[in-house]
């Protein structure tokens, strides 16, 4: 044997029982999929900051914004029209003398509402539809899929416009249009996951232990689909917000005198030459919302993607 520096004494060659502790020592703390994902997410500063900003914006729109302003969204006073940013009017006033601060946050509320609506639709309609379709399979799946394919073929814009014509333009119509088309993507994703998961061994194991189908879906298949569901959610929200702003911009959405970030931007665009501040504030809030949801979505996708695990 090659020589060692150390002095070897006979007692070192006695049998030992070290194994019990050594073998099971695991370097690093135990971790679950979610903890792992959370840790990965934490390292993504962009995503974390976005999360924070989103909360902040929510707070501003629903609570702080309105509280801090004595003005209403509708109060016109032509004498103070077009006054720039000042200590009294933090975001300035528009052509009717309405306080922009209030209006911007009012618009933000609309956007956030739409975002939440989209999220709820995704969860309550999209996930359920997709889960049922994917899990049951067979003819049920076929039929349900055809419906989705057709719905998919009709763009959201078209439905929104048609809805707008039949009903009055406004927040309700946008909601209805979203309700018809906004959840189809999520349904497809969830269906895809279901099809994938239900053939896997853990599903078979569960069933052979006597689990009911509902239990299988609720306790096993859905939790394993949460990853893509969450990621997709994070992207539908900004898409919905965008859709509403867009419609409001071209005049199909929120109508005067209500405010939407889209309509505010639309009004401001026309007067950009002379009163650029009318554009900056709603645009900034809108872009902030979009950036944050997108960054968060990206971050979540990276965090929840098992392929990235090393």
């Amino acid at each position: 044997m090659e020589t060692r520096h150390r002095e070897l004494t006979p007692d070192l060659f006695e049998p030992t029982d070290v194994r019990a502790q050594e073998g099971e020592r695991i370097a690093g703390p135990p971790t679950s999929f979610w903890k792992d994902a959370w840790r990965r997410l934490k390292r993504n500063r962009g995503a974390l900051i976005s999360l924070g900003v989103i909360f902040l914006l929510f707070a501003m729109a629903f609570a702080i914004g309105p509280l801090l302003s004595p003005y209403s969204s509708y109060g016109q006073d032509l004498t103070r029209a077009y006054s720039g940013v000042s200590s009294e009017f933090w975001f300035g006033t528009d052509k009717f003398g309405r306080d922009m601060w209030t209006r911007v946050w009012s618009g933000a509320r609309v956007s956030l509402y739409i975002g939440l609506l989209a999220a709820c639709l995704d969860i309550f309609v999209g996930v359920v539809y997709g889960a049922v379709s994917g899990f049951l399979g067979g003819t049920v799946d076929d039929v349900m899929q055809r419906v989705i394919e057709i719905l998919n073929g009709i763009p959201y814009l078209v439905i929104a416009i048609l809805a707008m014509i039949v009903f009055q333009p406004g927040i309700l119509t946008i909601s209805i249009a979203l309700g018809i088309t906004g959840w189809t993507f999520m349904a497809r994703i969830v269906r895809g996951r279901m099809l994938q998961l239900k053939e896997q061994d853990f599903a078979l194991a569960s069933r052979s232990l006597g689990a009911s189908r509902f239990r299988l879906v609720w306790k096993h298949l859905l939790p394993n689909s949460l990853g893509p569901i969450i990621v997709n959610l994070m992207f539908t929200i900004p898409a919905a917000i965008f859709g509403e702003a867009f419609l409001s911009f071209i005049g199909l959405g929120i109508q005067v005198p209500d405010a939407s970030l889209g309509s505010l931007i639309s009004d401001a665009a026309r007067e950009m030459r002379f009163h650029p501040y009318l554009l900056w504030f709603p645009a900034a809030v809108f872009c902030l919302l979009m950036i944050c949801f997108n960054l968060l979505g990206d971050g979540l996708r990276d965090a929840l993607d098992p392929k990235m695990r090393k």
Partner: protein, 340 residues
Amino acid sequence: MNGDSVLQVNDLQISFSTYAGEVQAVRGVSFDLRRGETLAIVGESGSGKTVTAKSLLRLLPEANTRIKGGEAIFEGEDILKLSEQRMQKIRGEKIAMVFQDPMTSLDPTMKIGPQITESLKKHLGLSGQKARERAVELLTLVGIPSPGDRVKQYPHQFSGGMRQRVVIAIALACDPQILIADEPTTALDVTIQAQILELLRELQQRLGMSVILITHDLGVVAHTAHTVAVMYAGKVVETGTLREIFYDPQMPYTWGLLSSIPLPTADRSQELIPIPGSPPDMADPPKGCPFTPRCPYAMRICAEEMPGYTTFSAEHKAACWLHHPMAPNVEPPVRIGDAR
């Protein structure tokens, strides 16, 4: 069959940096590959065998891998230190590799023919007609029927076993001196496994290639290897010729491996003895012999210090404190003797 050495690996050490810290995947691996022979590297998952193999061709992801030490001498040079330019000349031309999963080893959007001729064009300068003919020849060599037609098909039109043959054909295209096969049969059915192994053996004899075969399956080893290196937790714990390892193993891990496979000659009353426990975490490797927690013969020194190698013959070396003069005499489990 004792050719001279075509590849010498000395004290190879490789680490990965991960979010959990540094993972020492390979901690001092040495072996010799002789011309015209098959060296089997055996070990459990996580023992570092694939990392060792990939490192020879420097195919490990550069971002987080570090070759901390050691050398691999091929044709008089240390291939671990060559530039990327020079490595490209070696890959495919002198040393080729076959991966584990045939379903993902081939480019799904490229026909088989071009995937083979790519190599031919790059290394041998063949082009057009000549390259295509050689590709068909290679397909015949690996036993694919109607090669003329097959050469124009896409990977998804082949079964798993056939794809693996194609991968082997690609590897052999430029007549490499060394073929590294990383678990080439693990992802295949048992019957196909046998075919592929037979193919490899045939090809080796015919072409005089040296083969490094990585596997966790001792059955595969018995079938094809001339020399064996047993790896555990990033180290080679025993190496020797096939006979020496199977009939005269000197290390408790090897005993454990051999005891845990069923032998057709064994008598029904004998038990299969699996090795309890699992391999250590390489993010925090133990300072002594890594097998200690699972070793029935463990002694106090085993946990505290790595044993050095004891040489039993020209080929046969093992690292275990049991070989130290101060250690008690230990009889290997009865089964091994029976298999003689």
